[in-house]
């Protein structure tokens, strides 16, 4: 059994990380290191207003303090050598870096990179109904369908552009969900973020297409620090997708992003991520440190935010997309599939903070561990004293492939209102020899059987993904099951 299963998994393993190529493009980078000069330089390059520079500098000072006090979080169930924050390049951008108005002005090498990744930036060959903002290293290189969206009053552009063209919106909402001093990595991001995506859906508008950001790290030695800010005004609806890849390098690269979502009365935001950063090699060399802060505020009554994530990449994932349910009758949802293989480590989960009355949250987490992967679910459900009749349902399932991997569950519950209903269910199972044999006895190859069983295990989450992503995610789960069962 073990041998033939190994063989099947090894076959899968031979499907290398497909996105590991490096684009040969001239880029402009600052010297490694972090100080006020770097922050001022980034801000100046973007032509930012004074208030934003001030905000960045406050974040920098706070971060340097934290650094001095060694306040880098250590509570997560992950292990990595300490990061030298003075050796990271905090800004890298493809040259030339003038504002581009049409795709013709973009370096063709860049366009080819995205084509290779399966992301078409040319609107003629578009993925039907998906508007894309492409972020390459630190800057946004192209946003498609901008004009069409603008007709409905929808703003979808790079963060830098939003700062220039919609400063009031940015100033009002930036840091309103994740304050600059929120945590170590968010604080670093606030000081040095270079770009990201911005979207605003006006009152009563249902965004007619999926909005999507595609993040790509290319340059060596750089960190990627992007910031996404998404606002759904009263009664608005938007579905947002996020995808990520990086070249194969034998150094670790830091990705510390911040995502803030704001949903006003009756607004709904669906935020889906397929994260496939380079996971490192079999021995755990290289790979992305994915230390990300994602949080949504259901500010309005009856508002709803749903996070769906499929996390298959990164050497280390530290990520807790959360919802603050402020508005009465608001709803928060978290659907997650996380897979760790080789020597990948993931500590991921969510926080559901119930503030308003009749607020409801659902957590469905599916963790898959293979190889020497270590996987932790960490989730907090907090029911505040005024959250009458709040309800939460949590389900955390872990699937183990092989005997050298691990699955851990850390649920935290804080209930301060007696009328709350909180349910938590957790299961851990091993992929069954019986299940595999049953499939194989019906003529299904071992490789297909594993992929089928894993996809079945994740179904509750995968069905929450938009169509285009669901297929990609299913394939990814198959590919990511690299030589693991011993």
């Amino acid at each position: 059994m073990a041998d033939s299963q190994n063989a099947a998994l090894e076959q899968l393993a031979r499907q290398e990380y497909k996105y590991g190529f490096v684009t040969d493009i001239e880029s402009e980078s600052v010297a490694p290191g972090l100080d006020e000069g770097v922050v001022r330089l980034i801000s100046a390059k973007k032509g930012e207003p004074e208030w934003l520079l001030e905000w960045r500098l406050r974040a920098l000072r706070r971060f340097l303090e934290m650094l001095e006090k060694h306040a880098e979080p250590t509570w997560a169930n992950v292990q990595y050598p300490s990061i030298d924050y003075q050796k990271i390049i905090y800004y890298s951008a493809p040259k030339p870096r003038e504002q581009v108005d049409s795709l013709d002005e973009i370096d063709p090498e860049l366009l080819r990179t995205y084509e290779k990744l399966g992301i078409s930036l040319s609107e003629q060959k578009r993925l039907s109904g998906v508007a894309v903002d492409a972020v390459f290293d630190s800057v946004s290189v192209a946003t498609t369908f901008k004009d069409e969206l603008e007709k409905q009053g929808i703003i979808f552009c790079s963060f830098s552009e939003a700062v220039q063209r919609h400063p009031d919106l940015v100033r009002k909402y930036l840091g309103s969900v994740v304050p600059y001093a929120d945590n170590f990595f968010a604080c670093l991001n606030s000081a040095v973020f270079s770009d990201g995506s911005f979207a605003y859906i006006p009152k009563g508008v249902r965004c007619p297409m999926e909005l999507s950001t595609y993040f790509r790290i290319n340059s060596a030695g750089t960190g990627q620090f992007e910031r996404t800010l998404l606002i759904a005004d009263e009664g608005a609806y938007v579905s947002y997708l996020e995808g990520c890849t990086a070249p194969m390098r034998d150094e670790n690269q830091l990705h510390a992003a911040v995502v803030e979502l704001i949903a006003l009365d009756d607004a709904e935001i669906k935020y889906s991520t397929v994260q496939n950063w380079y996971p490192g090699n079999d021995e755990g060399v290289g790979g992305i440190y994915n230390f990300v802060t994602k949080r949504g505020a259901c500010r309005g009554r009856r508002s709803k935010i749903a996070w769906t994530q499929v996390e298959t990449g990164s050497a280390i994932t530290w990520k807790y997309p959360s919802c603050i349910l402020q508005g009465d009758d608001s709803i928060g949802e978290f659907y997650s599939v996380a897979m760790t293989n080789k020597r990948q480590q993931a500590d991921t989960g969510t926080k559901m903070i119930h503030v308003g009355k009749n607020t409801k949250s659902t957590i469905i987490s599916k963790g898959i561990s293979a190889g020497r992967g270590q996987q932790s679910y960490r989730g907090l459900v907090r029911i505040g004293p005024k959250a009458e009749n709040a309800r939460n349902y949590s389900q955390c399932d872990s699937l183990l492939l092989g005997d050298q991997c691990g699955a851990h569950t850390f649920p935290y519950l804080e209930v301060k209102n007696a009328s709350a209903t909180v349910e938590h269910e957790a299961t851990t199972s091993k992929i069954g020899e019986d299940q595999l044999f049953y499939c194989m006895q019906r003529g299904i190859s071992e490789e297909d059987a594993i992929s089928m069983i894993v996809n079945g295990f994740c179904k509750q989450v995968l069905r929450e993904l938009p169509m285009e992503f669901a297929v990609e995610a299913q394939n990814l789960l198959g590919v990511s099951l690299e030589g693991s069962v011993g």
């Binding site: 049953y438 194989m440 006895q441 019906r442 003529g443 299904i444 069983i453």
Partner: protein, 265 residues
């Protein structure tokens, strides 16, 4: 029972010894099955019936330590379980496995198309497949809603067994092994399952019906009956042997092991 022209055997077991873990279960099985024949294998609990089924299907935890298992003259032990399946060997499981989140339709379509591709036929598309399934579901009196449910998840014992027979009907195996398909079935379910099986009998198909009780053989009438005890076939005969067993019980066979050993040859 004797035929004028004997066809080449489809399945031949020669002095097969097998073990599961440390336990030696089969201790020298000889058995020949030709196309079109239905053989029943009976025996008390622990006699090695299920191990025999697993030897044929290739369950990884069962190891053949001695002897030969030939299917169309090919050494089966060199083939992986899925290759055996593709060659036309089907095991109706005693305990069908649940696969959460994978719909019955998806599973069965994947299985059928794997076989079709192996045979060089075109894959069936969703519509063609649905048509085939609808037709075959009548055989086992299953409702269509079963197809959208996860494989065996939350099925009753009887539903699981019917689902096995449905799979068998769709995959049209050449050699079907029914491992205690009657266990846990009430009389109505037994009749439905048996009529499904009988509908699949044909000159090119063979069956190995493994059972503890004679009851099933009232519905699926075998050409040959073999009695397994302590890892050996201790007696072979026609369908009347099953009735004799029912009357006298397995104890009757264990009285004179020496003589019985001779009979088996």
């Amino acid at each position: 029972m004797t035929r004028t022209v004997k066809r080449a055997p489809m399945l031949e077991l020669k002095n097969v010894h097998a073990r599961a873990g440390d336990a030696v279960i089969l201790k020298g099985i000889d058995l020949t099955v030709r196309a079109g024949e239905v053989h029943a294998v009976m025996g008390p609990n622990g006699s090695g019936k299920s191990t025999l089924a697993n030897v044929l299907a290739g369950r990884p935890s069962v190891e053949v330590t001695e002897g030969q298992v030939l299917f169309d003259g090919t050494d089966l032990t060199t083939l992986a379980p899925e290759q055996r399946a593709l060659e036309g060997i089907f095991l109706a499981f005693q305990y069908p496995v649940e696969i959460p989140g994978v719909s019955n339709t998806y599973f069965l379509k994947a299985a059928l198309n794997a076989r079709r591709v192996h045979r060089g036929d075109q894959e069936l598309d969703a519509m063609e497949f649905l048509e085939l399934v609808r037709e075959k579901m009548k055989l086992v009196e299953m409702e269509e809603k079963f197809m959208s449910r996860s494989v065996n998840e939350g099925f009753s014992g009887g539903e699981k067994k019917r689902n096995e027979i449905l799979q068998m009907a769709i995959l049209e195996p050449r050699l079907s092994i029914l491992d205690e398909t009657d266990s846990g079935l009430d009389i109505d379910a037994l009749r439905i399952v048996a009529s499904g099986v009988n509908a699949l009998r044909g000159p090119e198909r063979s069956m190995l019906v493994i059972t503890h009780y004679q009851r099933l053989l009232d519905y699926i009438v075998p050409d040959f009956v073999h009695v397994l005890a302590e890892g050996r076939i201790v007696r072979s005969g026609g369908k009347e042997l099953a009735q004799e067993l029912e009357k006298k019980g397995y104890g009757w066979l264990e009285v004179e092991p020496k003589t019985l050993g001779a009979v088996a040859r």
